[in-house]
């Protein structure tokens, strides 16, 4: 996690990125959808991530509660 309290969460696809962003915003966490290059998306190849302003662990827990699988984490550029 960087100094601005930003973290990146890898999700399965753009559908999960959209619903994930909406879920986080409903819980008061700002999030942005972004495309990830293969090097940052773990075993996903091309994929999508959620750049979250706030605590990553809290955001990941909220996503799992919404049945959105967290595939991993990345450091936002």
């Amino acid at each position: 996690m960087n100094e601005k309290q930003e973290c990146g969460i890898i999700v399965s696809s753009v559908t999960y990125a959209v619903y994930g962003r909406q879920a986080l915003e409903r819980r008061g966490l700002r999030a942005f959808t972004e495309r990830l290059d293969p090097a940052r998306s773990g075993d996903c190849g091309c994929g999508y991530g959620l750049r979250v302003r706030g605590d990553c662990r809290t955001a990941a827990k909220l996503l799992e509660e919404e049945k959105i699988t967290v595939k991993g984490f990345y450091e936002p550029l």
């Binding site: 696809s13 559908t15 959808t33 293969p38 075993d43 996903c44 994929g47 999508y48």
Partner: protein
């Protein structure tokens, strides 16, 4: 022109659907799930909004389990091939459309598992008993149309849902004729797979269909290809909707469909169903004592009326009515088994099917044209 072929596809569409299509083509033209730029993400958001609206309308908790297809036939093929275990037995009703029967027949011929028909007959109150009689130890799924596209008979889906839940079977409903006209709650009725066209009662453009999957996972895919996700692997993603949505989506159609769903929500599905039933019932009342005509049951709540001229073959009658600017569908309506039940397998029949934009004046003009044609036929006999 009086359009009474809404069971084939609804027409006209709400103006807002055309506006949404135009916006989709002009402002949301990127491929969702492929790019990270603004228009691609905005298109993805728009597609997801339609998934959400569809899930909400049909009582599905997770919108990512809404799968977009080209039509209801594709949705039913997905349900059959991807969700019913290989080699398992499937039971269908005795009035299914070819969109169910043909994939089942092909599956059986390929050794993928056979199917049986539950013999309901014309009385459907005890449909569950007929399905139960067809049960086998290897039965995995029940498939039933919610409403026959031939005579408009509505089947007791809630009753069948209870049977499916009790016997731990997957329950697949073909809502081709009811989505948008009848309130459907997947959770309350224990429906696992709900297939529907987007272009009929939901008022979307042609080329749209949906499969909603609740409490079940696909064991295989039907088509494989790019999804914009898990791209490093040669296997299809296992999660929905990607597992069943390879290739570029019909984004313009889906966004147009979203406008259709919004339009229905504004009017109320229950009110739409009541309006369509009122029109069907009005046409039935106006024709019931006309000589030379046969009106087929059921005389119940439906948006479809099946009838025949006693002295004019159905296609000839449809052509004569078309000359009077009345659009009806004649023939077997791709559901021969439903015609067998009504005794019209050899002759075919005429079908008037009502939609949201039909009105009582159109019913009156249609009835007048039918009466005139029947009268002319009587004189020439």
């Amino acid at each position: 022109m009086i359009y009474l072929d809404n069971a084939a596809t609804s027409w006209p569409k709400p103006y807002t659907v055309a506006v949404a299509l135009r916006r989709a083509l002009s402002a949301l033209g990127a491929n969702p799930g492929r790019g990270g730029y603004k228009m691609s993400l905005a298109t993805a958001e728009a597609v997801c909004a339609v998934r959400g609206a569809a899930a909400q309308m049909f009582g599905l908790e997770e919108p990512q389990r809404v799968i977009f297809c080209p039509n209801c036939t594709a949705a039913l093929n997905l349900a059959i091939y991807c969700f019913a275990p290989e080699g398992s037995h499937i039971i269908v009703s005795d009035r299914e459309h070819n969109s169910v029967i043909r994939p089942l027949q092909a599956r059986a011929k390929a050794g993928g598992g056979d199917f049986s028909t539950a013999q309901l007959g014309t009385e459907v109150k005890n449909a569950a008993a007929a399905f139960e009689r067809a049960l086998r130890p290897d039965t995995s799924m029940i498939i039933c149309t919610h409403r026959s596209n031939v005579d408009g008979q509505t089947l007791p889906i809630a009753q069948l849902g209870r049977l499916a839940a009790a016997k731990k079977l997957l329950f697949c409903v073909d809502a081709a004729q009811t989505a948008g006209s009848e309130e459907i709650d997947m959770a309350a009725w224990n429906i696992n797979l709900l297939a529907m066209p987007g272009h009929k009662g939901l008022c979307g453009p042609t080329g749209t269909g949906l499969l909603l999957a609740r409490g079940c996972e696909p064991h295989r895919t039907l088509l494989q290809g790019g999804t914009g996700s898990m791209s490093a692997g040669a296997d299809m993603p296992a999660f929905m909707p990607d597992a069943l949505e390879p290739g570029t989506l019909n984004t313009a159609g889906i966004i147009g469909l979203g406008a259709g769903l919004e339009y229905l929500r504004g009017l109320g599905v229950k009110q739409i169903g009541a309006h369509e039933h009122k029109l069907q019932s009005a046409l039935r009342r106006q024709l019931e004592n006309v000589g030379g005509l046969t009106l087929y049951p059921p005389d119940g709540e439906s948006n479809i009326l099946l009838f025949n001229f006693d002295a004019i073959p159905c296609e000839k009658a449809a052509a004569a009515l078309a000359e009077r600017e009345i659009c009806l569908r004649a023939g077997l309506h791709c559901a021969p088994s439903a015609h067998l039940l009504r005794g019209t397998l050899k002759s075919g029949a005429l079908r008037a099917s009502f939609g949201i934009f039909n009105n009582l004046d159109q019913v009156r003009r249609c009835a007048a044209a039918i009466k005139q044609l029947a009268s002319e036929a009587a004189k020439t006999r």
